[in-house]
Structure formats: structure tokens, C-alpha cells
């Protein structure tokens, strides 16, 4: 075995000098959330960096809804799930159809629609929230899950269409031509050739849209307000409004709420990073 030279040791030390602060900076809020989640109430506020008696009791309280703040926890969890999956599915459907239409069928005006979509992508979401909130009221959709689902589809679709169109443009035209020669109809071309070839991008976009809707706070907070129709992030925000909130339970709920996206992210990391970095900034 070769011993490292002094210079190599020095380089490694320099890297550690960056790596350790980066690790601490990244982990502090997440660790703090975890610490509250495993601390009994008397330990949570003591400022200790590890509780004397770590416990999973808080999770038990949340799962069995043993605190009046958590009455509707499972309903809210279900709301979050349904809204995220519906928004993801609908975005995927709308964006795939649009990208196929623009890129493969060369529909007249398609490019125009693309640019309009891009324009929406760049309008800050918080700015669109104000007029959208009011028009959801006009449509009679306030406090209805559809309002949030449709708002999320509106926000996710432009980016989805754009990424999918970039990917579609890379598919060879010959495939379409060959399939058409063999007598495939447009729909068969879409279903049997296009969708299977686009699978990796579709996974990336589907994941993106699901996570966007699951994580969304602002639109959920504006559009939904009944205890039984709100999503988890809104429920978490409502904890703040009370003076006597059980913070350790809030952090436990937050931890449970943060787990699915983290898990999904790591499960689909391969697709996500590729899709997002390719899509976000074209260098």
C-alpha cells in the first residue's frame, strides 16, 4: 500500500474543511426536526442535542390522532396523497399530449403554444396565486380539491411540456415514418411508439409534478380551508396560529410529511436529476 504524500493529506484536509461545514449547514434544520420528533415534551425544549429518553411516542400520538390538533391527520394525509397523485397524472396526460402534438405532429401554431407555456413557467407562482385565487372563487371551486389539483396542473404543465418537447425532438423521425408506413394510426403511433420511448422523461416529469403538488403550501393555503379538506402542509401551518401548539407533535407530523418526497426523490434520483438539470437551464 502506498502512503499518501504530505500534499495529498493537505488537500484532503482542505476538502474536509469545506465538507464538514457543508454537512452541518445542510443537516441542522432537518436534524432539529428529527430531534423534536423523537423527544418527549420535557426534553424537546431543553436545548439538548440528543434527548435523555428518545422515544417514538410522538409518532404513536400522531398515528392514533391522540391530540385534538391531529383529529384529522389521516384525512389530511389522504387529501395530500389524492391531490398530489391526481395533479401528477393530469399533468402527465396534458403535457404528454401537448408535447407529442407540438413535436411529432407539428401542429400549426404549436411553437406559439410552447412559448406561451414557457411564459407561464417564468411568472412567479406567488404572483399568479392572487388572481387565480379570485377566479377559482368565480368558478365555484374554492374549498374543492379540484381547485388545488387544477392550480398545480397549471403550474407544472409548462415545464413538463417544455422538457418533454426537448426530449421528443431527439427521437428520430424515421420511427414515426416506419410506423406510419406499417399503417399505424396517429393514436397508435402515440400509444405504441411515442409513450414507450419517452418513458424516462415521463417518469421524471410525473415525479416532478407529484412532488410539486405534495409540497405545495401557498396555493393549498389559499384555496382550501376546512379542517377536513386541507392538505398536510396547511394543517402544519395552522399549528402556528395557536398559542398552545404542541411543537414536538408539529415537528413529528412535519417529519412524517417530509418522508414520502425524500423517499421518492431518492428512488427516482436518476431520472429526476437528468430531467431537471437538462430542463432547468440549457447551457
Amino acid at each position: 500500500m502506498k502512503l499518501p504524500t504530505l500534499r495529498e493529506v493537505g488537500n484532503e484536509a482542505k476538502l474536509l474543511l469545506i465538507g464538514i461545514p457543508v454537512f452541518i449547514w445542510t443537516m441542522i434544520p432537518i436534524y432539529h426536526m428529527f430531534l423534536f420528533a423523537i423527544s418527549p415534551k420535557e426534553d424537546a425544549f431543553s436545548g439538548k442535542l440528543w434527548p435523555d429518553h428518545p422515544t417514538l411516542h410522538n409518532f404513536h400520538i400522531v398515528f392514533y390522532q391522540e391530540h385534538y390538533f391531529l383529529r384529522d391527520f389521516w384525512i389530511q394525509f389522504w387529501n395530500s396523497t389524492v391531490i398530489a397523485l391526481s395533479a401528477g397524472a393530469l399533468t402527465l396526460f396534458i403535457a404528454t399530449a401537448a408535447a407529442f402534438s407540438i413535436s411529432r405532429l407539428k401542429v400549426p401554431g404549436g411553437r406559439w403554444v410552447m412559448n406561451l407555456a414557457l411564459f407561464t413557467y417564468f411568472i412567479p407562482a406567488a404572483f399568479l396565486a392572487v388572481p387565480m385565487y379570485r377566479t377559482m372563487g368565480n368558478y365555484g371551486l374554492l374549498n374543492n380539491h379540484w381547485s388545488l389539483i387544477l392550480a398545480m396542473v397549471t403550474i407544472a404543465s409548462p415545464y413538463a411540456i417544455w422538457v418533454l418537447k426537448q426530449a421528443s425532438d431527439k427521437l428520430p423521425v424515421e420511427l414515426d415514418e416506419a410506423a406510419t408506413m406499417d399503417g399505424a394510426t396517429t393514436l397508435q403511433l402515440f400509444r405504441l411508439v411515442y409513450v414507450p420511448l419517452m418513458m424516462p422523461s415521463l417518469v421524471a416529469i410525473g415525479t416532478y409534478a407529484v412532488l410539486l403538488a405534495w409540497n405545495e403550501y401557498l396555493y393549498a393555503f389559499l384555496l382550501l380551508s376546512k379542517d377536513t379538506n386541507i392538505t398536510l402542509p396547511v394543517a402544519l401551518g395552522n399549528f402556528l396560529a395557536a398559542d398552545d401548539s404542541p411543537w414536538e407533535l408539529l415537528m413529528t407530523t412535519g417529519f412524517i410529511y417530509a418522508l414520502p418526497p425524500a423517499a421518492i426523490y431518492y428512488a427516482f434520483k436518476r431520472y429526476m436529476v437528468g430531467g431537471l438539470t437538462a430542463g432547468a437551464v440549457k447551457s
Binding site: L15, G19, V22, T26, M27, P29, I30, H32, F45, G47, F93, I94, A95, A97, A98, F100, S101, I102, L105, V107, V113, M114, N115, L116, A117, L118, F122, P124, F127, L128, V130, M132, Y133, R134, T135, L150, A151, V153, T154, S157, T186, W214, N215, L218, L222, P233, L236, G237, M251, G254, Y257, A258, P261, A262, Y266, L276, T277, A280, V281, S283
Partner: protein, 290 residues
């Protein structure tokens, strides 16, 4: 195949259906769902909102509202200071993460976490850490110095700084990731040649890395500006706009007016931001849609 007749312009065109190929009809049908969403949830709301905000009185009222002026200044601080600090750190860290080490690979997996987890629990977590009475930070300050720590979120300057910190915490991984991709695209032999010539790390950065990444860096900064303008969570969840409405930014201010049932003021506060947003959007569209 269309049959071309001379003087064909003078004749009324054939009906639309016969001019379109079946593929194009499908194209329109498949594009229709998105167009419907766009018309119903972007065009109509925006036009309606602009119509509500049309009266000049709204802008006079905004101009006279000290909270608006403060929010505008806060937004500029957020954009100019926050984003530049964030992008510089991201540029620096992209160099760190581009190093080939197993432990750095593992660290990069952890480093992505702030971006992968939703903002609300983590921002609330920071909010609890900064609690003046029982927050962990003031506990630590007390145990080291015996003095009570500051009331972090009670001073607008400190509170805004903390909100910028939260924003950086949340979005740093994404930009670092993008810049790593940019760095990895630089041909490696350029660095090897420079090393043979005895270039220092600064020279390598100055003459190889920066020129190759400059465009990407500027694009990222501009895109980040647009997104930061829409960042509602960092401020709202950390400070709620307080103390005394002094830490609002334009995105939380619009929502504040909305909650106070002043929709036309809410819209007006967004319209006022448009001279800043539209050039950025225009630039980004030009970059991305070529």
C-alpha cells in the same frame, strides 16, 4: 395533394377540415387540454386581475402605504444580496462537489436533502430554533455565555437576514447541481495542460472554469431572480411578514392584501413588479426557446 389552380387566391378557400391532415386534427385535439387549462387558469385570471387593478387610485394607495415601500426595498435586498451570495456559494461548492472522492459523493447525496424535502417543516424547524425563550440557539448562547441570546425574529433586519438564510438553505442544492453539470462539461485536458504549465488554482479558475461557465452562471442568476420573486415560503413561514409587517417581500405582500380582502391592491402590487419581471422573462425566453 392539393391541386393548384391559377388565380386560386381569388376563390374562397376550402373548408378547414379538408385543409388539415388527420394528423393535424389529432394534433389540435391533443393540444386542446393544455390550451383549455392555459385559458381558464392563466389568461382569464390575469386579465380579470388586471381589470380589477386598473384604477390609478390603487397605485396611489400603494405608493402611500409604507409597508409597500418597505416590501419593495426588502425584495431588492433579497434579490441583489441574497441571490448573489447564493450563486457565489453554489459556484464555489460546485467545484468542491466535482472532486472525485467517495466521501464527497456521499456528502452530495445528503446535500440534496433541503431541496428534496418540502419547505414547510424545515422552515418551521428553523423558526423554532430561533425562538428567543426555548429555541436551541439561544439555549446554546446561554450555556456558553450565561447571557440571554437576541430575540432573532423581533428585529426586522435580523429577521430578513434569517429569511434570506432560509432561502439559501433551501435552493442552494439545486443551483449547485446545475453548476456541477456545467463544470463537468469542461474538457478535462484543459486543466491538465494548465497544470503542466504550473497554473495556480486561481489561474485555472480565472482562465478556464469561469469563461466556460459564465453564460450558464448568468442564466442561473437571472432564473433564480424570477423564482426568488415568487418565493413566498421563506418569508411567510419564518417571520409571517413581521415584526410589524417590516419583513414583507412583494410575494407575501400580495397575499397579505388578499387576506385583507383588498384584491385590487394585491393585483396592483404585482403589476408594479412587472417592469422588473418582464425583462427577465423576456431574456429567459430568448435563451431557452432558440
Amino acid at each position: 395533394m392539393a391541386i393548384t389552380l391559377s388565380g386560386d387566391q381569388a376563390l374562397p378557400g376550402p373548408p378547414l377540415s379538408s385543409r388539415l391532415t388527420p394528423a393535424q386534427v389529432w394534433g389540435i385535439l391533443l393540444l386542446a387540454p393544455y390550451l383549455l387549462v392555459f385559458l381558464a387558469f392563466v389568461v382569464y385570471p390575469v386579465c380579470y386581475g388586471l381589470w380589477l387593478a386598473r384604477a390609478p387610485a390603487n397605485y396611489v394607495a400603494l405608493y402611500n402605504d409604507p409597508i409597500f415601500a418597505r416590501a419593495a426595498v426588502n425584495t431588492l435586498i433579497f434579490l441583489v444580496i441574497g441571490i448573489n451570495i447564493k450563486m457565489l456559494i453554489a459556484l464555489f461548492l460546485s467545484g468542491f462537489f466535482a472532486q472525485q472522492r467517495t466521501w464527497i459523493k456521499w456528502l452530495s447525496v445528503i446535500f440534496i436533502l433541503p431541496w428534496a424535502v418540502p419547505s414547510i417543516p424545515t422552515i418551521l424547524s428553523v423558526r423554532f430554533m430561533l425562538n428567543p425563550e426555548w429555541g436551541v440557539i439561544n439555549h446554546l448562547i446561554f450555556s456558553f455565555t450565561g447571557d440571554d441570546g437576541p430575540n432573532w425574529l423581533n428585529d426586522p433586519t435580523v429577521a430578513l437576514t434569517m429569511a434570506i438564510g432560509v432561502h439559501i438553505w433551501k435552493s442552494l442544492p439545486f443551483w449547485t447541481l446545475i453548476l456541477i453539470t456545467g463544470r463537468l462539461a469542461i474538457p478535462h485536458d484543459l486543466f491538465e495542460a494548465a497544470e503542466v504549465d504550473g497554473a495556480s488554482w486561481w489561474q485555472k479558475f480565472r482562465f478556464i472554469t469561469w469563461p466556460s461557465m459564465q453564460t450558464l452562471y448568468v442564466t442561473c442568476t437571472l432564473l433564480s431572480m424570477i423564482w426568488t420573486l415568487g418565493d413566498f415560503n421563506s418569508v411567510y413561514l419564518l417571520t409571517g411578514g413581521g415584526p410589524a409587517d417590516l419583513t414583507h417581500v412583494l410575494s407575501t405582500l400580495g397575499i397579505r392584501y388578499l387576506r385583507l380582502d383588498q384584491l385590487s391592491l394585491a393585483m396592483a402590487s404585482i403589476v408594479v413588479a412587472m417592469p422588473l419581471v418582464l425583462p427577465l422573462v423576456y431574456f429567459m425566453m430568448k435563451r431557452l426557446s432558440r
